[in-house]
Amino acid sequence: MPPVLEVKDLTVRFNGSLALDHVSFTIEKEAIIAVIGPNGSGKTTLLKAILGLIPYEGEIRLFSLPVRQVLAQVGYMPQRFAFDSNFPLTVEEFINLTCRTPEKLPVHGALDEVGMNEFKGKLIGELSGGQLQRVLLAHALLHHPRLLFLDEATSGIDIEGQGDFYSVIQHLNREHGVTVMMVSHEISMVYKFTDRIICLNRDLVSHGETRTALTAEVLKKLYGENADFKVHGHEAAQAGHGNHHG
């Protein structure tokens, strides 16, 4: 079986300054992968480069193929909308617009999967933060992707909502074999729910299995000596103390 994702010597520059510096890693099999790091460490840049949304140097292959060739098998949930949320657009219209094949639209199925079918006639601008996140997830799941990218999907959602969200992600991975790569600041959730981790600070600080790669030393390297974490050896950071927004 080909590796799910191969990134070799990935370098991204914005106006001459380095946003990512020769990052290389391989994801061999289906997993939930977290990308962590402080603000400006290149987490979102990594996702956008993999998706071909920004120019980069290096090589990226999904399922051993160039990204453009497998884009239809990829779902992406952005951190936020770029457009004016007061624009009159219903949930159903939004899902319809983002569909590659509108004539074979499984819009009800996608909204059902995230429990949002009853909101399909509601305006996007009238949704709460959590409801909007679920609509974005429905959009990302629309074409039954094999690989799902989530950019800070749970920002602005309470702890309970985060737990529910991660449970959905875990279900997608375990039951449907979807590989999920997610940018997150929620260290405790990352420790609890993800299989692998990529720690970035413009270059690759650490990567591997979450339980072994996410150590106190690595966190200090990423967030500094004064960062407030409770990571004891291989023990998980406790919920409520393990969140970092630095």
Partner: protein, 281 residues
């Protein structure tokens, strides 16, 4: 009034004006949805003003001013697009430079022709009642082609206007569709100059969609209301201008503004009533 409405509609110049007005109302207001979504109002205003240079070239060379303005503005739109991608300057600065340079070039070129220049006033403020058959043919052919393209690529253009990244992820080529939108918009604005003039043409792009946004509860409703409001504005404005013997372009714009003002007051009043009923509950 010495003439009835039925007789008025029998007059060839009025038939041409009505047909041109309705085609342009539909075209410009539909494009206005994308213009407001992408916050391109300044681009529209800039291209319309700079098109004066194209019309002046046509007048000076005795070639069709409308065709020459079409070619000039489409080239200018492509140049603005290219500079936005390649230069470190902001879009506003690039458009500002093009806008003023095009207008200045137009004024100088027109001043090279001796004597009074009635065409200049026509291009600045529009003269829908003076539309000739060949102008009408151009408006209908270009307008129908652009509308057909927009209708068949509506989903792609809308998604691109909403969110460029999502458009990329949906397999849309954003650069191609952005360039096409710029060129179609430039072309439509120049066609609209015959009705409203360089100074007023942006109004029909912006006012109907802004009015429709005040009460639309879906994108589909917004589209229908925008087009209906634009067509009503053009029709009512044109007839009012004839009855009151006032410049058609200006009356059309003020009719649109009056409808917007009424909708704004009604929408604010409706919101207030809803809030009051919620408080009482």
């Amino acid at each position: 009034m010495g003439i009835t409405m039925a007789e008025l509609l029998q007059l060839p110049f009025m038939q041409r004006a009505l047909l041109a007005g309705l085609v342009l109302g539909l075209l410009l207001s539909y494009l206005g949805i994308f213009v407001t979504l992408r916050k391109m109002a300044f681009f529209s205003d800039g291209i319309a003003h700079a098109a004066l240079a194209g019309a002046a070239i046509g007048l000076l060379t005795r070639f069709s001013p409308l065709l020459s303005a079409l070619a000039f503005s489409m080239l200018l739109a492509a140049l603005v697009y290219w500079l936005e991608k390649k230069s470190p300057l902001s879009s506003d600065s690039i458009i500002g430079i093009m806008f003023t340079s095009g207008m200045a070039l137009g004024v100088i070129l027109i001043s090279l022709r001796p004597g009074y220049q009635p065409e200049l006033i026509g291009y600045l403020f529009g003269n829908i009642l003076a539309i000739r058959t060949q102008d009408l043919a151009l408006i209908v052919v270009f307008g129908a082609s652009i509308l057909a393209f927009i209708a068949s690529h509506k989903r792609k253009l809308t998604l691109l206007a909403l969110d460029r990244e999502m458009a990329c992820m949906a397999g849309i080529n954003p650069d191609l569709y952005e360039l096409l939108l710029y060129i179609m918009l430039a072309c439509s604005l120049v066609l609209g100059i015959r009705v409203l003039g360089v100074v007023l043409v942006s109004a029909i792009l912006i006012i109907p969609v802004s009015t429709a946004r005040l009460f639309s509860r879906s994108f589909k409703a917004l589209t229908w209301w925008t087009v209906l409001i634009a067509e009503f504005t053009v029709l009512a404005g044109l007839l009012l201008s004839y009855i009151l013997d006032l410049p058609a372009g200006a009356v059309i714009v003020l009719t649109g503004s009056a409808i917007f003002s009424l909708a704004f007051v009604a929408s604010a009043w409706g919101k207030r009533s809803r809030q009051q009923s919620k408080t009482e509950l």
